[in-house]
């Protein structure tokens, strides 16, 4: 059972445009929502994260919007650049025996074209 649904599977955006990736979850025990960026041949890198008591978090060109009642969250990449071309994974985690157990979305392959 997929606990974190992510869409779209792939995304093509013009340079300078806004990239938007959406995720939805079912488990209300999730209490931490990170986004990871993965370039080909590399491990996922933590990009930005949010807790459910906050509706929005911005770091540079990256913004997470969080809707607790709808159990949805999204990543917005403003002024998208070719260097942003990567696969993005949303994730949700919950406390499990003293650590955060992470459930990953299915990933979105972003291509930013010049």
């Amino acid at each position: 059972q997929q606990q974190v649904k992510q869409s779209p599977q792939s995304l093509i955006v013009q340079k300078g445009g806004i990239s938007i990736i959406n995720c939805a979850y079912e488990n209300t025990a999730f209490d931490y929502f990170p986004w990871y960026q993965q370039f080909p041949g590399k491990g996922p890198a933590l990009l930005i994260a949010i807790r459910p008591d906050v509706s929005e978090k911005k770091e540079g060109r990256f913004t997470i919007s969080f809707n607790k009642s709808a159990k949805q969250f999204s990543l917005h990449i403003m002024d998208s650049q070719p260097g942003d071309s990567a696969t993005y994974f949303c994730a949700a985690s919950q406390n499990s025996g003293g650590y955060q157990k992470v459930t990953f979305g299915t990933g979105t392959k972003l291509q930013v074209i010049p």
Binding site: P44, L46, A49, F89, S93, G98, Y99, Q100, G107
Partner: protein, 111 residues
């Protein structure tokens, strides 16, 4: 954050053999994790490794196939045993320090 290195970065192995992947973290962490990632797919948790105790395996993964060692707070190994072509994948080590941080992965091809 945590800086994580893995060895080897890639390997090509014969069916029936075993490969041990090493994971080193730059400082002490309590929890380490091993994931598998098929090309173009999401991450699947294999097991959680807590120093000083047996690893906890996720459904579908067993210790005989994926034995894990965790001898200290900065190091872990994952062995892929009796390999078949279906084991061809990227294996990722991760450590928890406020969030999960990942190593660069080991790309395994089994012929």
């Amino acid at each position: 954050s945590a800086v994580i290195s893995q060895k080897p970065s890639r390997d090509i192995c014969q069916r029936g053999t075993s490969l041990t992947i090493q994971c080193q973290v730059d400082s002490q962490v309590t929890m380490m994790f091993w994931y598998r990632q098929q090309p173009g797919q999401s991450l699947t948790l294999i097991a959680t490794a807590n120093q000083g105790s047996e690893a906890t395996y996720e459904s579908g993964f067993v210790i005989d196939k994926f034995p894990i060692s965790r001898p200290n707070l900065t190091f872990s190994t994952l062995t892929v045993s009796n390999m078949s072509p279906e084991d061809s994948s990227i294996y990722l080590c991760s450590a928890y320090r406020g969030a999960q941080f990942f190593g660069p992965g080991t790309r395994l091809t089994v012929l």
